[in-house]
Amino acid sequence: MIAQQDFMIVSVLLFCIGLFIIVSKKNAIQILIGIELMLNAAILNLVAFGKFDRANNGGQVFALFAIVLAAATTAVALAIILNVYRRYKTINPDKINQLRD
């Protein structure tokens, strides 16, 4: 069997790659991809520990919920990005610095 620790190490590395993408990228869509990577790292932990909960399936069921929530988040975030692009003609978060028109 695979040790839990291996899953957690993979998840830690994935989380930090996501963090790196979020901090360093200059494009809203790439930042969104970084957020998805961090979410996936969390889901990997849920699934890895869900292996030891056969009766209640806590980990796996909440991994499913987290995946669905990530889908909802992405849909709204992409709608916002499209609106921002329509208004500012750029999706670089550093250049979007005013609240009013």
Binding site: I2, L32, L64, V76
Partner: protein, 184 residues
């Protein structure tokens, strides 16, 4: 080294490698498609954690839904955005990325420390689960219990999340509507 272990190492390598390519690449389209590979690798890891159903859901929702959505948003945001992206510095390790690299490195050190100190394989509740045979079966019958639990124990979160999903989708459809269509 058993077969499972080799497969795990392969999947972890595919996942982390493609995630690194996503982080290093400056071409947005390429990084989106490498993200696709990352998601498939993660689905493989879920299978190795005995969660087949979650893996299939991952492929269906992430690869089928979110990735197509991201591609659409990217294509709709036009050529200028693409040109802006190309101007980004091409190197993975450059002075501009130094703060991000520093932050991510510190997080790796801290979290790996936490993982090693926590000794996740010796947690008392995991020992108890192994003693009482509360571990997911390898033959794929664990999926039955997911179905039963989803409709009994987790019915309230299930319904709440379905309402939230509907609200989010209506909100997204409303947000992405063109302004001109409002007046007509």
């Amino acid at each position: 080294m058993t077969m499972v272990k080799i497969l795990f190492c392969l999947m972890a390598f595919v996942t982390l490698g493609s995630a690194l390519v996503v982080a290093a690449g400056r071409n947005l389209v390429r990084s989106i498609f490498m993200f696709f590979v990352t998601l498939f690798g993660l689905a493989g890891l879920y299978v190795l954690a005995l969660a087949d159903f979650v893996a299939v859901t991952q492929v269906v929702i992430y690869v089928g839904g979110i990735l197509v959505l991201i591609l659409f948003a990217f294509m709709l945001s036009g050529k200028e955005a693409l040109d802006k992206v190309e101007e980004q510095s091409s190197k993975f390790i450059s002075l501009k990325n130094a703060p991000a690299l520093f932050l991510a490195g510190l997080f790796v050190v801290i979290m790996l420390n936490v993982v090693f100190k926590a000794e996740v394989d010796n947690l008392p509740w995991i020992h108890r689960a192994i003693e009482t045979h509360n571990v997911m079966p390898v033959d794929g019958t664990g999926i039955n219990e997911i179905g039963v639990n989803l409709m009994t124990r987790y019915l309230l979160p299930f319904e709440v999340i379905s309402i939230l999903l509907m609200v989010a989708l209506i909100g997204a459809a409303h947000l992405s509507r063109r302004e001109g269509a409002n007046q007509s």
